[in-house]
Amino acid sequence: MIAEAKPEATATMTLDGVDLAFTEGETIYDVATRANKDVPTLCYDPRLEAFGACRLCVVEVEGIRNPVASCTTPATAGMNVRTATKTIEKHRRTLLELVASENRENEVDELRGLASQELKTLLDRYEVRNGRFAGCQSGTTNTTDDNPFILRDYDLCISCFRCVRVCAEQEGDHAITMMNRGFEKQITTEFNGILKDSACTFCGQCVQTCPTGALGDIKAMRAESLPGKVEKTRTVCPYCGVGCSVDLLTKEDRLVGVQPAMDGPANEGALCIKGQFAFDFVQHDDRLKMPLVRGEDGELHEVDWDTALDLAADGFKKVLERHGRHAICGVASGRAPHEAAYTMQKFIRAGFGTNQIDNCSRA
């Protein structure tokens, strides 16, 4: 990725009594975040165009009667901003009480998705689990969509539209939309159908940006009841040449899910259906754990490693003697670890002296 040169700071504003320089185009939220202010948000995703729906990021600006949404308001020279006055914090608490009142539940397993704990964390921070503002629930869970990847549990949806926006702005699929108005607003697909019939490519970005777990990673959720803590290991997705950074989620010694890395330089939180959901082969019952050799009977039989390797070496040698080194070609698997891919090319290049090595993931 080519980093853009950061323009010089051109003006100054005051934030909670401190003068701060900013560059034109920055919002109040940008400046506040840089100053390590923990301004709460629910509809914000730094990769998306600021939307201004949740209103949690409101701040007071001197000379403006009502608080403004800091995520959509540009910083201007001489602006005097206060990010967490008593009044502002009270509004945030009331907003969170209102949000908490519209859901079936507000506790979800972290395996539902990368951002799934955002609402829960804010409810804890503002201590607002008090049952105020009781009333009917918004959003209706889709129980007819039986796709194996994305849970559509809209009973927990707070209409932040991050899924709609990530699908349009990041993935370019425009598969997700919002129907109706007001409290009846419902996240759905074209003609209120199922994802399979829409433009969805099952990239999973909607799941990973959902701040409540209304959209859930069905594959990872299978491990919710497994014992152990979720651990994350940073690696690079082996499926193709883009080089998306991912965190592999494990519980004890079991791979339970994949999440995109928001700071991955190649993907910035994006993945495709394979990188996101196609990891079952790792622990699949059908996976080969011992080499197989075809016998006289035409069937494959399990043999020990030495027998198999000897047989393979003989085969390679014969080809080499009869047709020369360039008759050898290697194709490594995208489902093998990077270390194996490296070893494979070393084996072909150094072992046989040919450059005829490729990988099925070379996209």
Partner: protein
């Protein structure tokens, strides 16, 4: 009947094509089916999911039969007083619709492109909307000065008293002089926000980017407001002339009239007026008429512009403002019908004349729509500064015999209620704001002393909940929760706790909502609690006893 392809070919290269194309298909079939929506998406190169979501946003786009052919009955606040919910039941296949702007001649029933009015099935008839009555105060008018002359909506009728002379005059002036004239008149936005018109035009004139547009906001959706309807039906050329003058002042070359769906008669009248005046206006200013799909929020300028552009009609984040980033993200004047119709007389007679129409220090006039429990409802052009009680009692004849005025709404519904001693106020923004309300678009609905104000407040909040666009959290959830507290469906039984919840919701909505809908809606509950605490207490007792809570 035209095919989808023919209709798409007809609209796809036009300005602001989505709404008219959807209407063309909807008019043809009576509803928009899946194939229609797919065809529109492909034809206009918009994602299908987006077109689908946008279609579901509007009230009047049906997706299945009987769709457009089924009657829709107004159940706005005034029509409810006249028993319109019974008319919904009595009319075969009828469904309710939000206030359709016929409060002075209720109850309107919309079916296809026809409006019929009447309070019972047998008395429903199609008739022209009421003309404003002659000014009861005998006071000189600006917008209504000639509106009662026969044939006024035609070009001949309009030109009989100097119509389009102001445009000629304006076109002979420099932009600078014209802008100065409008600024000097102190004309301000008559849709309710009151932004100085001259300043707005000047900002557009100075903004970078072309082509610039003039958008006439004729999406008069505020319950209890029907003043723009009177202008559009009887004085459409004044609006067109006003827009052409604005175009000359700002350098705009395009104009749009965004008309609410529920005014089909006005659509035809304006369409004809546009055709008649096209030659006179000339090629330098192209005018387009666009019909909404039924959505109160599209009266908010950001939503209106999104709707016009074929986007999901959410309000836009501000800044930037339409003066720099309006239609197609280019400099745009968005003015209300009344504001634009005031322009030609101001140009013709001068700013001093216009300013002088107001009482005392107030400049100019305001159209006010009065309806509800009042003897003579209608549209009135009042000088700013006129006492409210003069309007209600002297001009409109007060309440029926033996009844008193219990409360009136301000700004349609958005200003909440005024009652008791606070009715003793003059009609101008500073005075009404001092009472915790605002004049806004100046719809005044009257409720006499037989009315249950909690029920009136409930209907009002239900309207805001149904019309909330659903974007910002405080409005989306707040209007719903307030509605539930007013109808007893949810909320605390204990009065102190109830009041605390209602107040907290109101405060957060007023302070943090993204547009005027959410900011204004709690005026209803705030003023209810302020003026009618004993009715609130009685409501909570009844709700508690009847156990209607879910």
């Amino acid at each position: 009947m035209p095919t989808n392809d023919e209709l798409i070919a007809c609209w796809q290269d036009e300005e602001a094509p989505l709404l008219p194309l959807l209407h063309a298909l909807h008019d043809r079939d009576g509803f928009l089916n899946e194939q229609d929506i797919r065809a529109v998406a492909e034809g206009l190169n918009i994602p299908i999911a987006e077109v689908f979501g946008t279609v579901t946003f509007y009230h009047h786009f049906a997706r299945e039969a009987p769709g457009q052919s089924a009657p829709r009955v107004c159940t706005g606040p005034v029509c409810r007083l006249l028993g319109s919910p019974d008319l919904v039941k009595a009319l075969d296949g009828a469904t309710p619709m939000a206030c359709a702007g016929r409060c002075d001649d209720a109850v309107p029933v919309l079916q296809g492109h026809e409006i019929r009015v009447g309070q019972t099935v047998d008395t429903l008839e199609a008739r022209p909307s009421p003309l404003p009555p002659p000014n009861p105060g005998g006071i000189e008018e600006c917008v209504f000065a000639h509106i009662r002359e026969p044939g006024r909506a035609t070009l001949d009728g309009y030109q009989r008293t100097g119509g389009y002379e102001a445009l000629k005059q304006a076109r002979e002036m420099s932009r600078e002089d014209l802008l100065a004239l409008i600024t000097d008149s102190q004309l301000a936005g008559r849709g309710g926000a009151g932004f100085p018109t001259g300043k707005k035009w000047e900002m557009v004139e100075q903004a970078d980017g072309e082509p610039k547009s003039i958008v006439c906001n004729a999406d008069e959706g505020e319950p209890g407001c029907f003043k723009d309807r009177a202008i559009l039906d009887y004085e459409p050329h004044a609006v067109i002339e006003g827009m052409a003058i604005a175009a000359h002042a700002t350098g705009a070359t395009k104009g749009f009239i965004y008309l609410r769906y529920e005014y089909p008669d006005s659509f035809k009248i304006v369409e004809r007026a546009m055709a008649e005046s096209a030659e006179l206006i000339g090629d330098s200013f192209q005018l387009y008429l666009r019909r909404g799909g039924g959505a109160y929020i599209c009266g908010e300028e950001g939503s209106l512009l999104n709707s016009l552009e074929g986007k999901h009609p959410f309000p836009r984040n501000r800044p930037p403002y339409p003066v720099t980033h309006g239609y197609d993200d280019l400099p745009t004047v968005v003015n209300n019908v009344e504001t634009l119709a005031s322009v030609p007389p101001i140009v013709a007679k001068g700013p001093e004349w216009y300013r002088g129409l107001g009482l005392g220090e107030h400049a100019g006039t305001k159209l006010v729509s009065v309806s509800g429990d009042i003897r003579r409802p209608g549209n009135f052009e009042v000088p700013f500064g006129l006492p409210l009680l003069t309007l209600l009692n002297d001009w409109c004849g007060g309440a029926e015999d033996g009844r008193g005025i219990q409360a009136v709404t301000m700004a349609g519904l958005s200003g909440g209620f005024l009652a008791g001693d606070d009715l003793d106020v003059t009609l101008d923004e500073p005075s009404i704001k001092a009472k915790g309300s605002f004049l806004g678009a100046a719809g005044i609905m009257v409720f006499d002393d037989t009315r249950d104000m909690v029920e009136v407040a409930h209907c009002a909040m239900e309207f805001f909940a149904e019309e909330s666009c659903g974007k910002c959290f405080p409005c989306r959830i707040g209007t719903q929760r307030l509605t539930e507290r007013l109808n007893g469906a949810a909320g605390p039984d204990d009065e102190a706790a109830w009041l605390q919840e209602v107040r907290d919701i109101g405060q957060v909505m007023m302070a943090t909502s993204a547009c005027g809908l959410g900011i204004a809606a709690p005026n209803i509950t705030e003023s209810l609690v302020k003026y009618f605490p004993e009715q609130v207490t009685a409501h909570l007792k009844t709700a508690h006893q009847s156990g209607i809570k879910q």
